[in-house]
Subunit: 282 residues, 2 copies
């Protein structure tokens, strides 16, 4: 695991996450509501334009680092020198000690993925996945329930404005990190960036997302080194196939006291079941 | 408007849309459910690899055509010679009469958008939008309600397997076209491709999506020439800003008898309201 490195020069760019909008309801009545912000953020890696992400802007530095890491542009945390986001020019300047290898060839090869948008993966991510070694992480049903309860305290932007997805990393007892974004994949990348920057080990962690578990979501969580994936939504056939291939415990349709185990039954201890609390409190 | 052109050589590739999966519920009970398929489709334009989409595969030929049109790779329907999808090799071969202009420069400029994945737009789409001329389309509240009712008859894959988004085009009375995909943006592109291939005029049409109205969704519908956008979900600030700029009637949070008018109040006739049926039947 990389160590935490405070040495990285980073901005802490702030921007409003919601904005007021006046709407008319079906009865003709005027209402003032909050809507989620969405802003472009163009990433420059050593002055080379990589991509423009559309994001809520909750933690742009972590998003940029996580994106570049997940796309394979930055392989070692130590290589990172500075991450500076400036909303006035809607750009992020990332500086590394040495030029990323095969930068051009990576920019050549694109896979636009589904998610529920058309995500983008540069380079042969699928090949990288073949080398991912994931730890076996036992999960307790009671952990899942306490995580789902705890999450309801976090999703501020969703409660105010909707139109965002949430992702969280839990150690089984507490939520280690939580973020919302208009881009579901941005949220995953942001958490990947945070864990990496903070040198938090993925061992024993559970990854939660409100979004559907498509191939790209499963791949990105595997890249974080996390082997338990929990979703409020459903699973696609390729998301499941990848989880089986990589030995990821895949839990979905998790809401209230309900959830379905799509893969990794042996790693899940249905401890509440023994206490006959399986379906209480829904 | 382009005319319909049966002259295009096209495959009608079929693939299963759902697959059976055996899962364990929170009570330890085994269940067999359907999950949505997700498969890669690599697009070759005149033998040049453009991109790989991850899709459900409901209408791959229309998806490919709509994607290439919306990305600006194909500008005139007449230029299209053949669209052939082969699931055995997970690829789509598209042939045009002449090479697309500025192909290389377009592949250079990428914008990865939010949606709820990280979508991709090649080229300066925002610039193209500046030239979009949209008709003013009056909408009746009663139309919205009958569209929402009619939609419940269509979403087969969602009912069976979940994890997909739906998009539909309605003429106000009937659903002209409907599709589901694991990629929300794929669904939009597929309908764009169908309308284009069939030479159906966007005038007087309403576009419905189950997905959130982020900037990319609004841009793609505007590219279709449709000026009324209806969503079951919410709106982002940039989605709303673009709708205002382009004069798109933006209706969201549409469920049962409820909806919110985010933009275009003057084009919406709340006819049910006068009959005092505004909130019946919810």
């Amino acid at each position: 695991m990389e160590q935490p490195f405070e040495s990285v020069i980073r901005s802490y760019a702030q921007a409003p996450l919601t904005e007021q909008a006046t709407v008319i309801d079906e009865l003709g009545g005027e209402r003032t509501i909050q809507i989620a912000c969405e802003r472009p953020l163009t990433i420059y890696l050593n002055k080379r334009e990589i991509v423009t992400l559309m994001t809520l802007g909750a933690d742009p530095e972590a998003l940029v680092v996580g994106y570049l890491k997940n796309q394979g542009f930055i392989e070692r945390a130590e290589d990172l020198t500075a991450v500076q986001v400036d909303w006035d020019v809607e750009s992020a300047a990332v500086v590394t000690r040495k030029e990323p290898a095969h930068l051009e060839s990576m920019l050549e090869k694109r896979t636009v993925t589904s998610g529920c948008g058309q995500g983008t993966m540069f380079g042969d991510l699928m090949e990288k996945i073949a080398n991912v070694e994931l730890p076996v992480t036992p999960v307790k049903q009671s952990m899942i329930y306490s995580l789902l309860r705890a999450l309801s305290q976090h999703n501020e932007t969703y409660k105010n404005a909707g139109a965002v997805h949430a992702c969280a990393v839990s150690d089984g007892d507490y939520i280690v990190s939580f973020v919302e974004d208009v881009g579901r994949h941005n949220a995953v990348d942001t958490l990947a960036g945070r864990l990496w920057l903070q040198g938090i080990s993925p061992n024993g962690k559970i990854f939660y997302t409100t979004g559907r578990l498509t191939s790209e979501m499963v791949i990105k969580v595997a890249q974080m080194g996390i082997s338990v994936l929990l979703s409020r939504s459903g699973v696609t056939q390729m998301g499941l196939a990848l989880a089986r291939e990589m030995g990821i415990t895949l839990l979905a349709r998790a809401k209230g006291r309900h959830f379905l185990i799509f893969h990794g039954r042996d790693t899940v201890d249905l401890d509440c079941l023994q206490e006959g609390k399986g379906v209480q409190g829904e």
